[in-house]
Symmetry: C2
Subunit: 299 residues, 2 copies
């Protein structure tokens, strides 16, 4: 008998809800802004929206095995506390303690990076793989890491903060604010290189043949490849899945990054690792949240 999980991707701008069964089929889904009147959705509203999603799937709570919730930031599994500035400012929130009593099913929480990598390994281009990295490259950079089938969370839930990879000894002040990999390879870095407002503008100009835009893309490719290579050398994954906003321009990035990674990465690990574009997109986080819920051991 297939089981159903409630998946919640509580993002910085929108909250997505889905009922996903153990075969990976989405039985219902919905979405709403994650803020209301300038503050993050209340936990009561969150549960009400979740209940709607359960009903839209034609289910009752009794049919739901557990709820998996992923958040954009740091979740410490030891304390159940979350740090997600885009939702709750700079304070840690006792998220697990807030959610558990409100839901009539068991609740599991993790970071969205964990959600992405679990989702890709379950239903995405990393399906069936045990050693996977999901690298999100958008306005920021972060990674979800799966090793031998287990999430690598680190001692405080911060593992995967690879936007902080040190990639150049020539220190710049930005490195201290966001990390050197993020300062050099995230969307805003590409925009800055071309003096454009957004990474999309640079991508469009590069596609049109603008040599300055092409050069900005090439430089960004090199930084991206260094960061991906570092993940390949340190973790020897079967696949690195690339996602995030910058991968809207995968036509400009994917092949060149694959090529440059081979130069930088450990030479035995590099050919063992596919570098793929996500095909699940943001749904990876929902699939991952469902997977967390389905793997949850009933207490």
């Amino acid at each position: 008998m297939s089981q159903a999980a409630l998946a919640i991707d509580l993002g910085g701008t929108k909250a997505s809800f889905a009922i996903i069964d153990s075969a990976g089929a989405i039985r219902s889904r919905s979405k709403r802004p994650s803020h209301e009147g300038g503050t993050a959705l209340s936990f009561d509203t969150l549960v009400a929206s979740a209940a709607d999603t359960v009903r839209s799937a034609g289910l009752a709570w009794a049919d739901v095995r557990a709820a998996g919730v992923v958040v954009p930031g740091i979740y410490n599994p030891a304390t159940g506390r979350a740090w997600a500035p885009n939702l709750w400012g700079c304070d840690e929130v006792p998220l697990l303690d807030e959610l558990r009593p409100r839901f009539p099913v068991p609740v599991v929480v993790d970071s969205d990076r964990s959600g992405y990598v679990l989702g890709e390994a379950w239903q995405g281009v990393a399906r069936g793989c045990t050693d996977v990295v999901f690298l999100a490259v958008g306005t920021g950079i972060g990674a979800g890491i799966l090793s031998h089938g287990c999430l690598v969370r680190g001692s405080g839930g911060i593992a995967g903060a690879v936007g902080w990879f040190a990639l150049d000894p020539r220190w710049r002040d930005e490195y201290g604010r966001m990390g050197s990999f993020e300062a050099e390879a995230a969307g805003p870095a590409l925009a800055r290189r071309f003096g454009a407002a957004s990474a999309e503008d640079v991508a469009e100009a590069a596609r049109g043949g603008d040599p300055t835009a092409r050069r900005a893309v090439d430089e960004t490719v090199e930084w991206l490849a260094m960061g991906v290579a570092n993940l390949v050398s340190a973790l020897n994954p079967q696949v690195v899945v690339l996602g995030g906003g910058l991968m809207q321009a995968a036509d400009l990035f994917l092949e060149p990054v694959r090529h440059a990674v081979r130069r930088w990465a450990q030479p035995l690990a590099a050919p063992q690792c596919r570098i793929e574009l996500t095909r699940l997109g943001e749904d990876a986080a929902l699939f991952g949240a469902a997977r967390l819920a389905l793997l949850e051991e009933t207490p």
Copy 2:
């Protein structure tokens, strides 16, 4: 009742044997060159030396739970094959298949990097920690990684090849031979910066106040810190244990590296991570090999 494990650290120059009990006490130990007449010790000789070590402890094979063997290179747990150029040249060796029939106890094999990190987490400065990195900095650079108590081996046993960390976009040919971190931060890089024959010579000159030697040390510190920081940001460990030949000069390196890591690493992960010098030295690999054997599930 305490159990005894046979630990074998099959190094590139010497092979070390020990009987270690489940309380971490070394009951007997011995050592011999790992080559004989220009070739690596035969597996039969290896077992004979191991049997001597068992006898010196006043034990019989029946008292030994299992044998743990670590090798300097890559061990693929999926195939049981090892690649260790300092022992067997460039070919892979079917190590597990060679060893299992020769030993009257179960045999477990892993890389020495895995051995080091397991040993440090069991009996060293990382005792009791679940998230640990052991970073060996000698003529080469490599890491053993423990995440949530589990070894991170990667899909082909290559994880921890962090000598290949890309740390500078200004490509040099050496980077393609050994990786950029190793080319900039291992012992030979320090020697090269000072035009000396060995890292020891530079360390001695730096201790004597030679400004050029001091500068060579300072530069090397910065590269080391970048690499350590990358491990801290990616893995959020409780402790990074530094070992390997260059740490003979820990008086010059440890404090400056600690200081510089804080600048490069993710700012929440950095203060959660101690950076410590090994106190077990090479024995960490023996303790780790014993730990592998003691954790081995009897078939």
